[in-house]
């Protein structure tokens, strides 16, 4: 029993950055733009959040800075793909390389730590609502993400005119334009919101779980989020479900490794398991996925 509790407790923790990253990507892609800068944005969120927290001795300032960096990253990508109409694959991958490079540069230049830093910041702690332990003992950010951020995004997409506008510019920007919507502005807003969420997901790792920054801290979580978006067919709750599935398998293999019975199995194989499951799930659910109508297409009035 405690084994399962352990796994579920870890699942919720592991899923938090994925939930933030994938819902950020959902909002972005719903507007018709692919943000391949997600890995870099999460990375920059993790680093700059940590850096600001370290400099000011405040995890709150750290989180705020991470979110601001995410907004900037979203705005920069918008400038490239919405205003200039640059190819979205190129611009996104460029953003990832740029953001990871910048983070590592500042890390080395300002903190002087190249490999495995021992610098620590105070983290957001685990809260135990009503004194409950076990599965309920989670980081505040996990609670906020799963119970407030994701439902609010769902509501925003469905019940606000901004949400409707984002979906419309992603499906048919010509129609949105005729309806009086500012297509470019809407895409900027979607990308900025998305960037903020992604960066917050990265910052969760440094400001909640670890309390420090290490190189390659995101370790492909951004790419996993991209798959989750397709798995979730551009719905925040479905993407979250995918994230939970991934996290469950991830937490499970982690615990299994510690069991005697599993000692013979190479841990690399177990480590690959969640990714394999993601691919299988993606193939099963993503084959007939209907992409947003204007996916990858810049909009310019004829």
């Amino acid at each position: 029993m405690s084994f399962l509790v352990n796994v579920l407790e870890a699942m919720l923790r592991v899923s938090t950055p994925l939930a933030l990253g994938s819902s950020g990507e959902v909002v972005t892609e719903r507007s018709g733009v692919l943000n391949l800068g997600i890995e870099g944005t999460m990375y920059a969120g993790a680093f700059f959040g940590f850096y600001a927290a370290y400099q000011t001795d405040s995890r709150w300032v750290g989180l705020a800075v991470a979110i601001a960096v995410g907004a900037l990253a979203g705005a920069l990508l918008s400038f490239l793909v919405v205003t200039l109409g640059v190819n979205q694959h190129t611009a996104g991958l460029g953003m990832t390389i740029f953001l990871i490079g910048t983070s590592e540069f500042v890390n080395r230049a300002a903190l002087g730590t190249g490999f495995g830093t021992s610098l620590k910041v105070e983290t957001f702690g685990v809260i135990k609502p009503f004194g409950l332990g076990g599965i309920a003992a989670q980081y505040g950010m996990t609670y906020v993400t799963l119970l407030i951020v994701v439902p609010c995004l769902w509501w925003m997409l469905r019940h606000t005119s901004l949400g409707l506008a984002i979906t419309a510019v992603g499906e048919n920007p010509e129609a949105a334009d005729v309806a009086g919507i500012n297509v470019k502005l809407t895409r900027y807003i979607a990308l900025i919101i998305g960037g903020m969420l992604m960066a917050a997901g990265g910052a969760f790792l440094t400001l909640a779980t670890l309390g420090s920054f290490t190189l390659d801290i995101i370790a492909g979580r951004g790419w996993v989020c991209l798959a989750l978006v397709i798995f979730g067919r551009w719905g925040v709750f479905r993407a979250l479900a995918g994230g939970l599935l991934f996290s469950f398998v991830y937490a499970l293999q982690f615990r299994l490794r510690l069991l005697d019975a599993w000692q013979g199995v190479p841990f690399e194989l177990l480590l690959a398991l969640p990714y394999l499951i993601t691919i299988v799930a993606l193939v099963a659910s993503g084959r007939n996925a209907k992409y947003p109508g204007a996916y990858l297409k810049p909009y310019r009035r004829a």
Partner: protein, 506 residues
């Protein structure tokens, strides 16, 4: 014959006025100091050939295009319209030439899209929409996804969208181009109601009978310039055409020949099933030499399936297809081509490769015939294409990319491609949809000419006038079946129209 440039200027409250609008696209002058005004409760027609600049002019009014020069006045006060939201705020509504709807959203969502409220209230919007629908006699389910609607219903949603924003000026850019006659009827009834309620309507169309029925005044554009504004009642159709084209156009006078006895294509008990339903249900027909068979019907009653099955793109579930006596029931598209079947599909944009030149599009299907030592023989292609451009009166150069052509010229390129192979059977859908009067006449003449030359033609069209003009026989399709057949001598608009709605009993 000359027509006096009689500009009407009777007093009346002008709602919107475009003054001296000029707009250039590169070398093309789309609008050259064009003026247009529309009054309260009036339906003003806007006529002109393809590319005359009609859409450009109304896009300027709606803020979709910024003019190089010119002014806009709304209620006699100068107005700056730089984007659609400005136009909407000024009370202008627009139904664009191609639908501007988000097909993955519901009717309600499409209608409230862009109206400025932070939190959307579907319920109150739905109430308002239901009321609007009732007052106009529109049967549209507000909660239906737009992708599930027929073209006619989509058109109504477009109008509702404009009315929901309380427009006082409504622009309709070729609203009936894709509508069946009955649907057009419903649309015009509603438009008439709106005009009577005081809305000023600008109606762009290529169909003169629509102008005659709906409008008192008509403004005519020719190659970007304003020819003038005329009282419709004082001018004949021929005069209006002359004003549009700039010269007199002779009437179509198709040679009368009798269909022969040779059966070009025979189709027996054809069934096409898809997802359990029958899209074609027991269709039998015969096309003889020198015969045009018209297929009438409201869109979506199996016509597209019929066209694609008769050229090998769809496999029939049951039945038999013979071309010139050869069984092609299970043939591939290439077998049909080789057997002399030519096809022109309804979606011309999907039938051309837009980035490729006119010349390459024309020879695409038989590029094998233009090889010299393994390379493409551009010289031979160019010689042939020059000849075809002449013959089919295509207004373009061989090396122009097809994407730069107007709809009419694109259609002629397709005709040149198919007809230059001298097909024995021609299967053609919506050949003149969206084309101007002149191009329409030219293309109909080409079809009539093919018939005289011995081809058997299956002509699918939603334009009943086209079918009446060209066909030897008319078949009416309804829900995948042929529900009625009329021969030349007994053509009757009303009866055919009735059969199209499924209520004819023949």
């Amino acid at each position: 014959m000359s027509v006096s440039t009689h500009v009407i200027d009777e007093p009346g409250p002008i709602t919107a006025r475009l003054i001296d609008i000029s707009k250039r696209f590169g070398d093309v002058i789309a609008n050259d100091r064009v003026c247009l005004d529309v009054r309260r409760g009036e339906i003003v027609g806007l006529l002109g050939e393809n590319g005359a600049g009609k859409s450009t002019l109304v896009k300027v009014l709606y803020g979709l295009t910024l003019p190089d020069e010119g002014r806009i006045e709304i209620d006699r006060a100068p107005s700056t319209i730089r984007k659609p939201s400005d136009a909407i705020a000024a009370g202008i509504g627009m139904v664009t030439q191609h639908f501007s709807l988000v097909s993955t959203m519901t009717v309600v969502e499409n209608i409230i899209l862009g109206t400025s409220r932070i939190i959307i209230d579907r319920d109150s919007a739905r109430k308002k929409i239901v009321l609007l629908c009732e007052s106009l006699g529109f049967g549209v389910d507000p909660d239906e996804l737009v992708s599930a609607l027929s073209v006619g219903q989509r058109q109504r949603v477009e109008i509702l969208k404009a009315l929901y924003r309380d427009c006082r000026v409504l622009v309709l850019d070729e609203p009936t181009a894709v509508l069946a006659p009955q649907e057009a009827e419903t649309l015009f009834k509603a438009v008439r109601l709106l005009a009577n309620s005081g809305i000023a309507v600008i109606l762009i169309t290529h169909k003169l009978h629509e102008v005659r029925k709906m409008c008192q005044r008509v403004t005519i554009l020719r190659r970007g310039s304003c020819v003038g504004t005329y009282e419709v009642a004082q001018h004949s159709d021929d005069e209006l055409v002359e004003l549009m084209v700039g010269r007199a156009v002779e009437h179509a006078n198709h040679e009368t020949v009798k269909p022969g006895n040779l059966v070009r294509m025979s189709v027996r008990n054809l069934v096409v099933e898809s997802r359990g339903g029958r899209i074609l249900d027991n269709v039998s027909l015969e096309i003889r030499e020198r015969e045009i068979i018209g297929v009438a019907g409201v869109s979506g009653n199996g016509q597209s399936a019929l066209v694609s099955v008769l050229c090998g793109l769809t496999r029939p579930t049951k039945g038999k297809i013979e071309v010139n006596g050869h069984d092609l029931t299970h043939g591939k598209p290439m077998d049909y081509l080789n057997a002399g079947v030519g096809r022109i599909a309804e979606d011309r944009h999907a039938s051309v490769i837009a980035e490729m030149s006119v010349a390459h599009n024309i020879v695409l299907e038989r590029i094998d015939g233009f090889r010299k030592a393994g390379a493409i023989d551009e010289k031979a292609i160019s010689t042939l294409v020059q000849k075809l451009i002449q013959q089919f009166a295509i207004r373009a150069a061989p090396n122009d990319p097809v994407s730069s052509l107007s709809g009419g010229n694109m259609q002629k390129v397709l005709l040149a491609k198919v007809l230059s192979r001298e097909p024995k059977v021609l299967v053609i859908a919506q050949p003149t949809r969206g084309l101007d009067v002149l191009a329409t006449r030219e293309i109909r003449n080409m079809l009539a000419f093919q018939r005289v030359n011995g081809a058997g033609i299956l002509l699918v069209s939603e334009d009943l006038d086209e079918l009446l003009e060209l066909s030897d026989r008319i078949l009416v399709m309804y829900e995948g079946r042929i529900v009625a057949e009329f021969t030349n001598s007994q053509f009757d608009r009303n009866e055919i129209g009735l059969a199209m709605t499924g209520s004819g009993s023949r």
